[in-house]
């Protein structure tokens, strides 16, 4: 906790993120380039044919969409319990990123579903709970914008984020709890062929690093904007 609080200070966060950013940018590019190269080098799957290539952009988007929500939930908890102003900033900065990754998960999934399942969409447990995640992101962002007083907006948004966290295990276990069209988990259980595992893991790392990079940039932007606003108002920065 002490470690976390030290970097919850905006000045320290600016310093730390300034040092980290060049490395995360390079790591993102390396993972994505290598991941894309391998994605287009794999043999066609015996069942899915060449559509297996879509796995490498679908699964990473889904994983990062849920990761971003987890980040928002943790920051919200830190904000509600310890009242750290930077945790609100960090939670808010992650929301548009999470929404984009969620939308990409839904779109790439639909485009895969059409040739493989014969339909873009079914109202089954996995797909519906994932669509709910997108609406949670929209609601979270709308709540921030709807309440003018920033402290109250932060509290309301944090409470919504924590209520919505119940959806994350539902998404994860939906394929086990209900009979769905969506296939079950295949990475941890080792069911995925190893030739597909390398590009998938690289793309997952690339997407996660891209999220981390953009998240840090967005928090930095919010800190600098606040400083500018305080200067305008004549308050000490």
């Amino acid at each position: 906790m002490q470690f976390l609080f030290r970097y919850a200070n905006p000045a320290n966060f600016m310093r730390l993120s300034g040092v980290l950013l060049p490395y995360t940018v390079i790591a993102t590019i390396v993972c994505l380039v290598a991941g894309l190269y391998l994605s287009f080098s794999v043999p066609p799957d015996y069942q899915q044919g060449s559509t297996v290539t879509m796995l490498f952009i679908h699964v990473p988007a889904d994983v990062v969409a849920e990761l971003a929500y987890g980040v928002i939930a943790v920051c919200s908890l830190l904000s509600l319990v310890w009242r750290h102003p930077l945790s609100d900033t960090a939670a808010r900065a992650a929301a548009p990123l999470g929404a984009i990754f969620t939308a990409l998960g839904l779109i790439t999934g639909a485009l895969w579903g059409k040739p493989m399942w014969g339909t873009y969409w079914v109202w089954d447990a996995r797909l519906t709970s994932f669509l709910l995640l997108l609406f949670l992101y929209f609601g979270y962002m709308a709540l921030w914008n709807a309440i003018e007083d920033e402290t109250r907006a932060a509290r309301a948004a944090a409470i919504l984020a924590l209520i919505g966290v119940v959806n994350i295990p539902i998404i994860k276990f939906s394929v086990d709890w209900w009979s769905t069209l969506h296939q079950g988990e295949s990475i941890m259980s080792g069911k995925i062929a190893s030739v597909y595992l390398a590009p998938l893991l690289l793309m997952m790392a690339g997407y996660a690093l891209l999220f981390l990079t953009l998240w840090m940039i967005r928090i930095r932007t919010a800190i600098v904007e606040r400083r500018a606003r305080n200067l305008m108002l004549g308050v000490a920065p």
Binding site: Y37, F40, S41, G49, S50, T51, T53, M54, I57, H58, A61, P96, L97, I100, A103, L104, I107, T108, L111, W112, K114, P115, L210, L214, I217, R218, R220, T221, V224, E225, R227, A228, L231, M232
Partner: protein
């Protein structure tokens, strides 16, 4: 590398296209906002 996706290309390329567009878009948007915020703060700090 193999870019011949056969008939499935009609689904695969849009999926890659939308993903690339969205991720490049959010990157450009976030970085532009950062530069804008930095320039604004610098301008304010220059004023006595």
């Amino acid at each position: 590398m193999n870019f011949d996706m056969g008939a499935y290309g009609a689904y695969i390329w849009p999926a890659y296209g939308v993903s690339a567009l969205a991720l490049i878009g959010i990157t450009v948007w976030s970085v532009a906002a950062w530069w804008r915020a930095k320039a604004r703060l610098a301008a304010l700090e220059r004023k006595p």
